[in-house]
């Protein structure tokens, strides 16, 4: 047998590599090679899928050659504007994000290894549309929006609406995600993102829970609340019953336990190699409980 001794190594399938210089050019190329082209940003998910032959696009369109798709900026009107090409490491270490949205720097820190975070982008994390995407629950909790550009112009959807199913986003052929807009939260808003497994580089979330609450000016009653679950449904989902239980109320242990149970009931997880459905529901309860405790007792 003349098989190479290197057969166990995963090689990339062949493709053409195209560099888009403008958003319009990227959109035109995607439309022209409909179904045969994929965008590459950090490439940390795309190239793995290609090495495993889950996908074999004929064309790879590099968007890192488009100016001004990265960066993290503040505007009074739109809040924090995160370019789709901002890396997870940049989000993790950005003073602007750390000061205004510590939940986002924390979630970025909990994604992948340092090596992956150095190249992996927030846009890629969302566009791969994994139910376990770590940036999604906190962004949904903060009411963030996704700015999408295509040949017919621009549209804005909430990050919640951006996800349609496993690996499926609202992006149509010829469209790319350009920016994430994180609106200025009302005063007394705090958030936390917890994930299992915690602080383990590489591992994909078995369960992720983001809780974002807005307290009244006395810091007593919950004026608004978002409870967002990752990796326990085809997309990241809001646990609306859990939210309703705590909205307008003063949190106590009994209410927290009730909301945590409601979140577990709303989760629709699958069983896979990372955890069974019943285990995931239990972890939703535990993490929601812990997150609600943290946002009401610590600086969020």
């Amino acid at each position: 047998m003349a098989t190479s001794k290197l057969d166990y190594l995963l090689k990339l399938p062949k493709f053409d590599h195209l560099e888009a210089k403008t958003i319009e050019e990227a959109c035109s190329l995607l439309a022209k090679y409909k179904g045969k082209a994929r965008v590459i940003a950090g490439g940390t998910d795309l190239l793995v899928s290609m090495k495993r032959r889950e996908i074999s696009p004929q064309y790879i369109i590099n968007i890192k050659t488009i100016p001004n798709l990265d960066g993290i900026n503040y505007s009074q009107k739109e809040g924090v504007v995160i370019g789709a090409l901002a890396t997870l490491a940049e989000i993790e270490s950005s003073p602007l994000i750390q000061e205004r949205f510590p939940i986002l720097s924390s979630a970025a820190h909990q994604t992948g290894s340092p090596h992956i975070r150095n190249v992996g982008t927030i846009g890629g994390n969302l566009c791969n549309a994994a139910p376990s995407a770590d940036m999604a629950p906190p962004l949904i909790g903060l009411g963030a929006k996704a700015k999408i550009k295509g040949l017919k112009g621009e549209r804005v959807v909430t990050v919640e609406q951006f996800f349609l199913g496993p690996g499926e986003s609202t992006l149509q052929v010829g469209e790319i995600l350009t920016q994430i807009l994180v609106p200025n939260p009302p005063p007394y808003t705090r958030g936390v993102y917890l994930k299992l497994p915690a602080r383990t580089a590489i591992d994909i979330a078995v369960v992720g829970v983001a809780v974002v609450v807005t307290l009244d000016s006395q810091g007593i009653n919950i004026v608004d609340a978002k409870v967002v679950l990752g990796a326990v449904a085809p997309t990241p989902i809001r646990a609306r019953q859990a939210e309703d239980i705590i909205k307008g109320r003063m949190l106590n242990d009994e209410l927290i336990a009730k909301a945590a149970q409601a979140a577990a009931d709303e989760a629709k997880p699958i069983s896979d190699v990372r955890g069974s459905a019943s285990y995931r529901k239990e972890i939703v309860k535990v993490l929601t409980h812990r997150a609600l405790k943290q946002v009401t007792t610590e600086e969020g």
């Binding site: 995963l10 062949k14 493709f15 940390t44 340092p114 090596h115 602080r199």
Partner: protein
């Protein structure tokens, strides 16, 4: 079709013709001939393929070579100055932080990037910096001790 790219590897400007589907790791090993970066998992989970790109540790197995055009690459071969070992290399030897050696080039480069950025890291920061680098021999403690020793000098 091959594309010509220019990149700086260990301070030396190199020009190579690469196919678009070749990873930076393949080009460094097969075309440039530096076999310090290792291929193990091929999917960004073990970081045996770590190189520094513009000073930052990345998985060269998940980097397209054509996208390294114009970049500064540091591999383990560029860490020592001639026969004079880098302090991290010296500390790894003295602490027994090397056993089979397969993870060592990646470990050293991740450690170098950490200390360049943060010369006085805590033990936790050291452990986080190498959290993507898998080692199946040492149990990590000797590696962490070696890095901390260099940091405290």
């Amino acid at each position: 079709m091959k594309q010509r790219i220019q990149l700086t590897v260990n301070g030396e400007l190199r020009e190579v013709a690469v196919e678009p589907w070749k990873t930076l790791l393949e080009v460094i090993r097969d075309d440039i001939g530096l076999t310090g970066p290792k291929e193990a998992c091929s999917t960004g989970e073990c970081s045996a393929c770590t190189v520094l790109v513009n000073g930052k540790p990345v998985n060269s197995c998940l980097t397209l070579a054509v996208e390294a055009q114009g970049k500064e690459i540091l591999t383990i071969e560029g860490l020592s100055q001639g026969s004079k070992l880098h302090p991290l290399q010296d500390a790894f030897i003295r602490h027994g932080a090397i056993q089979c050696g397969f993870c060592t080039p990646g470990m050293l480069l991740s450690a170098k990037a950490l200390l360049d950025d943060n010369p006085q890291p805590t033990e936790q920061e050291v452990r986080e910096a190498i959290s993507g680098n898998l080692c199946r021999c040492t149990g990590y403690n000797k590696i962490v001790e070696a890095i901390l020793e260099v940091a405290q000098k």
